[in-house]
Every structure is written in C-alpha cells, then in structure tokens.
C-alpha cells in the first residue's frame, strides 16, 4: 500500500511546528525543549474555545498546521484521531467529582470525557461532516492510527487527516500512566500524486522480536519512549532528513509496520 504525505503538523517541547521540528530532527538545529505555550485553538468559536480541553487545543493545533500545508479543504477530508488515553485531564476531573458525596458533574465536562472529543471539536471548528474515527492501541496508538489512515486512503482513494496526541498526565493518574511530556502530530495522507512531498509504502508483517526504529539522540529517544504519540518520531526524522529510508513501528507484540519512504521530486 502506497500513500503520499501532503502536510505535517507537530507540537511538543522543543518541536514547535513542523518547520522548527524538521530542523531539529534533521540535526541542523539544537533540541532545546522549553515549555510549550498553550495552543490558541483560534479555529474554535470563542465559547467553545473557552471550554475546550488541553487535548482538544493540542490536537486542533497540529491538525490545522497539517491541513494548511496540504492546501486541502478540511470539509472534504475524513479524519482519524489516535490517542492512548484520550481526555485524561477531563477523566481526572470527572472521577474527583464522582468521589465526592454529591456527585454533581457538569454536562460540559461529561460530554468532553469521550475519546472522540478532539474529533468532535475538529468537526465543529471546520464544519467537516466526513467520517471521523477515534481509536486507541495503548503505546502503539500512533501505529494503529497510521494503519487505519493508510488503509482508508488506499481503499477509498481519498486523502485522510491523521492526528495523534497524548498529553502529560497529572497526579494522581500519572501513577497509573506516567506520561511526562505532551506530544501531538498530524499527517495529511493521500493517494500518491504530485502534491506529495514524500511517498510511503506500508507493509504489515509479523514481528518476531522488537525491531522498532529508535532515535540516536538520547533526549529525543527519551521523548519517543515517554509518549505514545511520540512513537511517530522515527518517521518524522526520516522525512526531515530526506532520502530513501525504512522505518519500523511496532504494533502490539506480534506485528510491525514496515514503512519505506521515498522523497517525491516535483
């Protein structure tokens, strides 16, 4: 299965936006992580923006960056959202409330607790009525999302926006899921064409041992291991450095995605 990449969005400490992130990943700029300012989510109507969760703002921020690069109309592009735990901050607030005697939770908090909150807000922000999926595969959520997005592109022969995100988990839930840094990435994938800057061939194969691609830079490798969405980093690094490259992403203990990348010359 072959797809082209037409747009990339990226947000993490030291990797703010694809332009800056690409330089860091290509080794032409230093990786200097400093706290990321809260994304504005200017796409959302003001009342929705005020109530939106961190996850929603991060996911929409990278989604917008990727779609803008692709030049596609977001109303025409189906979406796949992938996250290990989704709205962990909202779930924390809901469970705190439910542990109190009155158990009065706000309707807004409740509807924001679903795994497809970012998907729903993206639709509200862009008026997109296309198919949208939200999924999870624990640490391999990015790989599962990529698999769903690529099969969608190939089977339906149309572009798809993939958005993967997981945010730092606050106490006390971090005892159960210790993710210490936020990471969000978006890819616009499409049938191969002149509009792609990279083409990517996917093969799914049985894995007999962990052969997943890693990063040489220890600080970036630490980010990759810390956050499920950051499992995208070897792929992003390969795109940043260019040339023909093979990347392997683990999917559970028994499968792996083998990605062969080729730069497109327009």
């Amino acid at each position: 299965m072959k797809v082209g990449i037409q747009g990339i969005g990226l947000l993490a400490a030291g990797l703010e936006g694809w332009r800056a992130g690409r330089a860091v990943l290509a080794g032409t700029g230093p990786f200097a992580p400093v706290a990321v300012p809260d994304p504005e989510a200017a796409l959302l109507p003001p009342n929705e923006r005020r109530r939106s969760s961190d996850c929603v703002r991060w996911a929409l921020h990278v989604a917008r960056e990727a779609i803008a690069q692709s030049g596609l109309d977001p109303r025409e592009v189906p979406t796949v959202f992938a996250s290990s735990g989704g709205e962990m901050g909202v779930i924390d607030a809901v469970c705190r409330t439910l542990a109190m005697p009155e158990r009065v939770i706000s309707p807004t908090l409740f509807h924001q607790s679903v795994h497809n909150t970012a998907s729903g807000y993206w639709g509200i922000a862009t008026s997109c009525q296309q198919s949208s999926t939200a999924l999870s595969c624990y640490d391999d959520s990015f790989a599962a999302g990529l698999l769903e997005a690529i099969t969608f592109v190939c089977v339906e022969q149309r572009p798809v926006l993939l958005v993967a995100y997981d945010l730092a988990v606050a106490a006390p839930l971090n005892e159960a899921r210790p993710i210490t840094i936020g990471f969000a990435v978006a890819l616009v994938l499409a049938p191969p064409s002149g509009a792609s800057f990279v083409s990517m061939h996917l093969r799914l194969e049985e894995a007999h041992q962990d052969e997943a691609s890693r990063l040489q830079d220890p600080a970036l490798e630490q980010v990759r291991q810390d956050n499920p969405a950051a499992r995208s980093l070897p792929l992003l690094r390969a795109i940043a450095t260019g040339g023909s490259q093979r990347i392997i992403l683990s999917l559970l203990d028994s499968q792996q995605l083998v990605l062969d990348l080729d730069p497109c010359r327009n």
Partner: protein, 405 residues
C-alpha cells in the same frame, strides 16, 4: 463514499454472540424480543440513588476471570468474557484461527467508557496524600485504558493479528465494521473479530443525569410523551469473513456501512439530521442499494425528545412513510459504545427468524414523526435491514445487514 463506486463485497457474519440485560446469548435475547419482555429495571447499580431504569446484566458483581486473566479484571472485561462464552463463539474463532493463522485474524473492538468504573473506585479509595491505590495503578493498562478491551479479547482468543479499539462514543461498535472492512479489503487480515462492550459506571449514569437525558421510567422511544433514555450494558461479538472466501447461501452479511459526522455540536444532533442523512446515504451507496430495497430500519431511537425527532427527519426524508422502523432500546436500554453491535446483532436475529420487533414501551406514537414507526411486533420475511447509531461528538454510523442469496 465517492459516487459511481462499485458496491462493496459483502462480509459474512460467520459467528456471533450477544449478552444484554435480556439474557446471555442470542437465544434468550431473541425470546425476550418475541415475548416483548424488557430488561429494564429500577436502578440498583451500586449505591446510585438516581430515579431511573437500567438494563443491568445480572451476575457481573460476583464473577472471577481466573488467575490467568486476573490483571484484566473489571466490570467491562467480565462482561466481555461472558459474551465470548456464549453461542459457540470461541469454537468458531478457533476454527478461523486454524484456517487462516492467528496473525491473520484482526480484533477491532468498540467501547465508550472501557473500564472507567475501576478508576472511579480508585479515586474513592485515594489515601490522605491523594495517591491512588496500588491495586489500581498496576492494572490501569489492563482495565481502564481505552485499549484494554482489545487487549483482553485478543488475549482470550489467542489472536496475533492487528488490533485496535474504536472509541467514538455511542457509534463505537458500529464503526468497527467499517474499520474491519478496510483491513480485510487492504489484505491485512483474512478474518476479523468485531464487537463492543460497554458496562454501567458512575460517569455515564451521573453524566446523562446532568444532561437531563435520563427518563424516570423505562425509556419510551418514539412515544409522544417520551422523556429520555435508559442506560444499559451489553457485550456483542461477530466473526467477519469475506463472502468470497466463505460463500454460504442464506448466510447473514454486512452489505454496507456509512460513516459521517455532524460538525455541529458535541452533544446535540444537527437540527436537520445532516450527518445522519450522510451516513445512511453512504451506507446505501456502498451496498449498491436504493431506499426501497430496505425492508426495515432499526432506529438509534434513544427516546430523548431531540434524538427521535431529528432521526425521524433524516429517516423519513430518505425512506418516506413506507419502510417499517422501530427502536429496540426499550428492551436493552441504551448500551452506548455497545449499541452498534447490539443492534446489528438484533438485526441479524430479525433476518434469520423473519420478524420485526415493534417499539417496546411506545404507547402512542408521536404524531409529529413522519416515519412508519412499528409499535407491535410483526412476523414476515426480511431481506435487508439498515441500523442507525449516532453518538456524542456528532459521530454517526449506519450499517446495512442482509441475507446472501
């Protein structure tokens, strides 16, 4: 779906199983449907004092998964396990595994709240420093994390193919059919276990109560006095294979599916049902069918004022006043992330046994609804059924199931 595209190759439901408040396995569910016996009872879940009815599956409170699966132990996975044990499902999966190889069978599950009840209990058991108990933190991955159900089902069935959990609120276990079709068509697997499990928890009981969407009586879909939904819980699974690899005349198959979003509001449907219309038309297009080819529509029909009215606009706009429609939520309650598989399998029972369920608890059909709402059960041959599921985030999915000729 693009216009002029060819219809999809139907996917055969080689085996299937369902557990709802009406019973364990498709037999008891079918019997309840025929006898018009609801599974809804006054809320007796934990210490919840809400004045509402629930479709609780009996026996989940005192239940052991056994030592090997202990780390997965939570209400949601107990319900999943109960589902897997019914209707010879495990045997059918073992045969498929033999046929194709464990790594060629995918697992695509749907749930909205996974094992969140564990987290709710853990927050109640925080120590003075606010820390969560160790029994919870060491098992979060296997209980509450959104992938837990997929992990659990894959482990129970000994499968090694691709797996994921779709969580798009109420449409979750309808959309698993679409994802499985893509994996099959792309050649990434030869068979797929699809399904969904959602179980009762405080989050949804108090959440829907906060939205003022819970009825104080058993839910009454399409009734002029309907005043909200009743929550339920369910587990359902199906083994999907391409109809070209297992061509069986008379077998029940997925003929089409349609996915869309409203792009309108997180918890209110689009007022004109725009997203619902898209999903239904997409499903018809993918199946290569016209509205007149559909014999019965299993409505989402939650019994909230707004859902039933908006869904009626979409359904009557496409099917007019002739196609019989009903909601089966009066039997099961709204099983949220499991509603897709629950109603898909109820549709399978209708196809297999030639009957249409009326809308249980609907006494006087809302005169402002334009669709042909069935109030009483009807016995007649049925060839093709469309099932609607709509969820939070404006996420919609329609499935078309039919008998292969």
């Amino acid at each position: 779906m693009l216009p002029n595209a060819r219809p999809m190759t139907p996917l055969t439901l080689t085996a299937y199983t369902l557990v709802t408040a009406n019973g364990r396995g498709v037999g008891p569910v079918l019997q309840a449907l025929r006898e018009r016996r609801s599974g809804l009872k006054p809320c007796d879940f934990e210490d919840v004092p809400l004045k509402t009815y629930i479709g609780r599956v009996e026996g989940l409170e005192d239940f052991s998964l056994g030592i090997e699966l202990e780390r997965f132990d939570c209400r949601n996975n107990r319900l999943a396990w109960l589902g897997l044990q019914q209707d010879g499902f495990m045997v059918a999966v073992a045969e498929a595994k033999q046929r194709y190889g464990a790594h060629r069978v995918a697992v695509v599950m749907g749930t909205s709240t996974s094992g969140i009840l564990e987290t709710e209990h853990a927050y109640q058991a925080r120590d003075l420093a606010g820390s969560l108990p160790a029994w919870y933190t060491s098992r979060y991955r296997y209980t509450h994390n959104m992938f837990s159900l997929g992990h659990f089902v894959r482990a129970c069935l000994g499968l090694r193919g691709p797996a994921m959990v779709v969580s798009t609120a109420c449409s979750s276990s309808a959309k698993v059919f679409a994802t499985a079709d893509r994996l099959l068509r792309a050649g990434l697997c030869d068979a797929a276990i699809v399904g969904g499990v959602d179980s009762l928890c405080l989050t949804t009981l108090y959440g829907f109560s906060a939205l003022q969407l819970l009825s104080s009586s058993p839910c009454r879909p399409c009734d002029e006095d309907r005043d909200g939904l009743s929550l339920g819980e369910a587990a359902g699974f199906a083994l999907l294979e391409s109809s070209t690899s297992v061509s069986r005349r008379g077998a029940v198959a997925l003929l089409g599916y349609g996915e869309s979003t409203d792009g309108y509001h997180m918890s209110h449907p689009h007022p004109e049902g725009a997203g619902a219309i898209r999903a239904i038309q997409d499903a018809l297009g993918r199946a290569g069918l016209q509205p007149r080819d559909i014999d019965y529509v299993n409505l989402h029909g939650t019994a909230t004022r707004v859902n039933d009215a908006v869904e009626d606009k979409a359904v009557s706009g496409i099917f007019g006043r002739m196609t019989p429609c009903s909601s089966t939520k009066g039997w099961t309650g709204h099983t949220l992330g499991a509603a897709g598989i629950t109603e898909a399998l109820i549709s399978v029972l209708c196809l297999k046994h030639g009957f249409l369920p009326g809308t249980l608890n609907c006494k006087r059909i809302d005169p402002t609804l334009h669709s042909r709402i069935l109030r009483d059960n009807d016995v007649r041959p049925v060839q093709r059924i469309l099932s609607n599921i709509f969820g939070f985030g404006g996420n919609n999915c329609s499935l078309i199931l039919g008998t292969l000729r």
